[in-house]
């Protein structure tokens, strides 16, 4: 039997893996992908709470609208973030975070 805790555990582990990637990897593109993974972990727990807390016998659709907004904002964020990475690569020829340690060059 699958319970709410199982979904929350899966979501928490996905978040932890994404967090580990942000802490341990030095490639800025991989760090960015791990950020997306963490956003998706939050989405999974929102959808699980929506399904397990019924309103009038139906899932709570406010949570799913919230997930919709998160996905929209994340897509906009990816576009801007990748443009910043391209601009960074043009001026420094690197995507390593350790090579970019100064604000002004």
């Amino acid at each position: 039997m699958v319970t709410l805790n199982d979904y929350l555990l899966a979501s928490g582990l996905l978040f932890t893996i994404g967090f580990a990637g942000v802490l341990l990897r030095r490639n800025i593109i991989i760090i960015f992908m791990c950020l997306e993974m963490m956003l998706n972990a939050a989405n999974l727990s929102l959808v699980a709470f929506s399904r397990f807390n019924l309103v009038n016998g139906l899932p709570n659709y406010n949570a799913q609208v919230f997930v919709f907004f998160i996905i929209t904002v994340a897509a906009a964020e990816v576009a801007v973030g990748l443009a910043i990475i391209v601009a960074l690569f043009r001026s420094r020829q690197t995507t390593h975070v350790e090579d970019v340690s100064r604000l002004k060059f």
Partner: protein, 176 residues
Amino acid sequence: MNYVSPFLFWAFTGLMLGFALAVVFNRNPVASALSLVVSFIGLAALFVQLDAFFIGSIQILVYAGAVMVLFLFIIMLLDLKAEQRRRLNPFTAIGGAAVILSFIAELITVLRHVPGGNNPLPALSGRGLSGQGSIDDVREIGFTLFSHYNFPLQVVGVLILVSTIGVIILSKRELK
């Protein structure tokens, strides 16, 4: 419809978490991006199991489709090679491991006290807007979106416009 097969749940969770680990441990950025696509597909399957069909489809279309294609496009545009093994700063490694282990410990502690955490999936009994007694989530989400969240929806439209302009300005050759 109100029954989630435990086998399918653990299979898709394993797929999602396994390929998420592959994202972190692959040296080659292209392999990482493709692993992330598989991880997102597993996540979309979990959404579908939770009767969130609309969220599952836009997860596939927006994330596994648009966002990851953008990532692959940028990786190939920048022509990134598999990164050479650099020695991890020991402070980073120890600090990272400590933070991750404490995170998992906190997760286990918190999950013991979630209200209603051990309840099985409740049965759907409501008749939605369609009145058919079947789940009609696109209609429900659309109704909620355009009645209660109309203003946030328009703000998100402005946000997408602003980010489009921002991307064009950022990717110009010379900033003046």
